[in-house]
Symmetry: C2
């Protein structure tokens, strides 16, 4: 068994490294690369993903797994080796069930769809994207078919992003989440909007960069094992456990780069604190999108938008932007936490974000089931916007065309955003139960207690365990939407009154 | 044949792309990477070079070449296909003659030698490096043995860097070059040193970066297909023909970044102007180190240190650094072209540089032949310094320990620097014969005539032809040291008088 394990580690280790090399190329493309180099870079990226795919799906790996899986019973289920075999077998199975012809067709369709979507988005005209989107949902149904029988047609798609989780679980969670979120929003809407004039000024870019760096460093992002750069669409990427890079986009008419940096630093702190013993194996990465998002949202919102954090950090903002010196902390805190239904998901506040997600989840499930025709998407979108958020987009660019995901074939991705929010509140509560209130520490800029709790309970495991197992180990339960609702209600009742 | 050629192109194309991906990782490491990431990056670099090596030396390529080489007679020797087969066969032959055991041993020895060299250099103590260097020269002799019989033991080592060139040719060239270079240096030394006070000031870094960018853009480096960044040791690297990046190191106590940028831009203009039809094949790169160096030195020295160039560019320097406004052009020109024997090769001026190279060439040949014991290197080094440059280094850090090359196993590399200088003058003369004096154009910042001549005669060919063939096509002769001597003599006689 020892030799077979060694072979497995070499094989999947190399495949994993090839993916990480591809990540270097992608980071360079988004941060540094001259635009004219795109065609050459695409060729290199395709070569790398092809080589990784070969290793991950080759007969050699299949034979190794055939020999190793029966021997798992002799291993401790918590051991790295057991988890590596389980994860490799899971992903191998997912890969080989999909014929190469489908993979090629899907890549071709999404490549076309992306440029169609860009045109449709620019002209705010859904008709220009309709046929591409129909083709993508058709291919997604085909994809699910390779995994039949399934409990729900959405399950195989969800498994790409949130392995181990079932559609039925999400449906149940969202059914419990939706009414109280809508209700809370109605309550908040009955109160006057906070004064946001303090956020309507010019914030110099160089000061924002300094603050973004300071905030990331303060919460524990290790700049000796990473770096912060500028990118149009902020992202986090890991090349190895000692090189986890974050990006942000600074705009001088708002302070969003601060939140965006805390968000990305949250992702990166996860990756930077995975056990070094997992390095060079596919376990050396975050376990799933929802768990990853729980980390980014925890630092962005539960920490970054909290009053204790601002008590620590707001004086630095005032120091950088003298116009804020006349604005008391509580006025800024209220402005910084304004709740207001809007059309655009990525701009949504804590209290409305999940509604955007539930809408998308319901629509993509309905289109996949065939209950909703793709042609009817704009109408269905607008109806749900009215129902959940009380507003109707003036056009499809601010409606069903706003996200890139579907054009890229990412069906099954959206719910992980909301699950991440829910889990962030559960971890926040779990840590406070274990460590006591963190407020005094946060007010002093001391984030070590929170971070170490996350290190021990989430980060160190890498992708050894799937979402529900990670959560069970950390807080002893499954996903509980009521915890997030309680968090929102307490925070916004204090802010807005009853 | 068509299908076999297609297979060949796919195979070596992928191997070549893997090398270029490795270049992206290397650039990132030198320009962007957090230091802590070095171990993980080394693993990824090793994986890529291993995969490229497999493709370049595999049985599949050997069989393809066995079938294709006999069919070359049916191809036009100037065609891309013919040249691709020839180059691939040449490099395949070089690779497979060396046993894998030797490659591993050499990699191990140079890795150790590099850290020993760093210590020895820091303490200026050759003894700390002696045994490592002996081992390296022993392994270099072993390496040459795999290619026996040879005309000279140095030939197989030289072939790594300057394929097709023989040691005997270099020996003959240097024999012709050495006496007039030493003589010219004696003549110059008899004159008083120019006033260099104008170069002894603080030159603000941001202004230097602007000037470096402006100079590179002016001579034709295409910033839309490349970028300029900061690196400790300036270098040029190509990821594809539309992404050729340069780096420089700005120091505020001198203006060397200007020269260094012109030098790297010269390398990059070569790579950026290779025929796009060669892209994605091993022909899509410069043909050899000496030809590459001829391009960098031409732009750095024959253009960048010329009076016509300064007539164009010096006003920009004066604009950036007001202290220079009181310094007339000719005073700056003289200071900028000061000839003065020094200990350090990388700081050497045009009139002394080749002497540093000939010294190294003679010593590495002697150590390889076994005529000179490695233990006696410092003494031999200092004796030659005295003979050629009239000075003796005060310690080995400023003597035989100054270069990293030998510690990295780069034996056979040095002569390409001097050959590059010689060739740069021949191309300069060739272009002036074809296009007339370029002085008026250069004075106006118009470099298109020179660049286009180089595009047509050197760049577009990529690595289709070897050095001597490239030169024959461009200027109709072999390497002629007298052209460089004539260039030096004319320039420095005008500057220093007879």
């Amino acid at each position: 068994m020892h030799n077979k394990l060694k072979k497995l580690k070499k094989l999947v280790g190399e495949a994993f490294e090839l993916q990480r090399i591809a990540a270097i190329l992608d980071w360079d493309q988004q941060v540094e690369m001259p635009v004219a180099a795109a065609a050459g870079r695409a060729r290199q990226a395709a070569l790398l993903s092809g080589l990784a795919h070969e290793k991950f799906t080759g007969a050699e790996l299949g034979e190794l797994l055939n020999e190793l899986v029966p021997e798992m019973k002799n291993l401790d289920p918590e051991s790295d080796d057991y988890c590596l075999i389980r994860l490799t077998a899971r992903d191998y199975d997912r890969h080989i069930k999909v014929p190469a012809g489908h993979v090629a067709e899907f890549a071709h369709a999404t490549s076309l769809a992306h440029s169609e979507w860009e045109k449709a988005y620019a002209e705010a005209d859904f008709l220009l994207f309709r046929d591409s989107l129909s083709r993508i949902f058709k291919l997604c149904r085909d994809y699910a078919g390779f995994f039949a029988p399934y409990d729900h047609i959405y399950d195989p798609l969800l498994a790409e992003f949130e392995p181990g989780l079932k559609t039925a679980v999400i449906t149940e969670i969202f059914a419990a989440l939706r009414p109280p979120q809508v209700e809370l929003l109605h309550e908040i809407a009955a109160h006057p909007e906070p004064d946001q004039s303090c956020l309507k000024q010019v914030f110099a870019a160089d000061k924002q960069w300094q603050l973004a760096r300071a905030a990331a460093a303060a919460i524990g992002y290790d700049f000796n094992r990473g770096r912060l750069d500028s990118a149009v669409h902020p992202f986090t990427t890991a090349f190895n456990l000692n090189d986890v890079r974050i990006t942000t986009a600074v705009k001088t008419d708002n302070l969003n780069a601060l939140s965006s940096t805390l968000h990305e630093a949250g992702h990166a702190i996860y990756e930077q604190n995975i056990a070094q013993s997992l390095e060079n194996t596919p376990l050396a990465t975050g376990t799933s999108l929802a768990i990853h998002e729980s980390q980014s949202r925890l630092w962005e919102n539960l920490v970054g938008r909290s009053r204790p954090f601002l008590k620590f950090f707001y004086p630095r903002l005032q120091n950088a932007f003298p116009e804020l010196r006349r604005v008391p902390l509580d006025e800024f805190y209220r402005a910084w936490n304004t709740v207001k239904p809007g059309f655009i998901r990525v701009n949504a506040d804590e209290a409305t974000y999940n509604l955007h997600i539930m809408l998308r989840f319901e629509l993509e499930v309905a289109m996949l089931e065939g209950v909703l025709a793709v042609a009817d998407l704009p109408e269905a979108w607008n109806a749900k916007m009215k129902e959940y958020l009380g507003i109707v987009p003036p056009d499809d660019a601010r409606g069903c065309l706003q996200d890139v995901h579907w054009s890229a074939g990412l069906v099954g991705y959206f719910p992980t955003y909301a699950l991440g929010n829910l889990i962030s509140a559960q971890l926040w509560e779990g840590c406070r139960e274990a460590c006591g209130s963190l407020d005094a520490e946060l007010e002093q800029g001391n984030f070590a207690g929170l971070r170490h709790w996350l290190n021990r309970n989430i980060h160190c495991h890498g992708s050894k365990f799937e979402l529900l197992e990670v959560l069970r180990r950390a807080v002893g339960t499954g996903i509980r939407p009521e915890v997030y609702i309680r968090y929102l209600r307490e925070k916004y009742t204090a802010l807005y009154g009853r």
